[in-house]
Amino acid sequence: MNLHTLNKTGQAMQACLAAITEMDALVLLEDGVYALGEDIGTILPESVKCFAIRDDILSRGVRNTCDSRVASINWKDFVSLSAEYDKVISWG
């Protein structure tokens, strides 16, 4: 059970999606929140929990955030998540 992070789209997103397993979770941050506009929620295995940093969604003016599949979180939530999973893997 690992926590993946993604801070951009493109190849990094493909690498992340290829490595994520059903028990893992994903945090979108920085330009990774643009993945919300590319419907990452529908591409991910259903069992993978998906989060996105609220500040980064707001600053980038990203829509599709009401998607119930993706929870918007703050930095403290991210810290808590990092403790809940075995390790953190940052794709970028």
């Binding site: 707001l58 600053s59 980038r60 829509r63």
Partner: protein, 120 residues
């Protein structure tokens, strides 16, 4: 000295590096020095034109709020490369007001006719 026509092409997303600022600063400065300036946003740079960028809590400088300044400082044409908009999955309704659409053919003739073309 006669004025030149600058075509500034911005290609990067607003908050992931320094290129967006480099393009905006160059456009603003050229206009301030009485050059004729056209700026075109293409590829990920079209995301700079999204309305509703809220940076209050993030500590970032709001790029979306710098775009209207371009017109105020007499940057003559502020354009979005329409095919890029489509590729980034963006609609017109998401965009700031007053952005002109250009096609590949439009951009090609801009590149051909400008005195200086600078890509950032």
């Amino acid at each position: 000295m006669s004025s030149q026509h600058y075509l500034i092409i911005s290609t990067a997303a607003p908050y992931s590096g320094v290129k967006p600022r480099a393009a905006l600063d160059m456009a603003l400065t050229a206009a301030a020095f009485e050059q004729e300036v056209t700026i075109v946003f293409r590829d990920e740079a079209v995301r700079q034109l999204l309305s509703g960028q809220e940076t209050d809590n993030s500590g970032l400088k709001n790029i979306g709020k710098m775009i209207p300044a371009l017109e105020m400082y007499e940057v003559k044409r502020i354009c979005v490369h329409a095919p890029s908009l489509f590729l980034q999955g963006m609609n017109d309704e998401y965009l700031l007001d007053g952005i002109e659409h250009v096609s590949d053919a439009d951009l090609k003739s801009l590149v051909e006719s400008a005195d200086q073309v600078m890509v950032f």
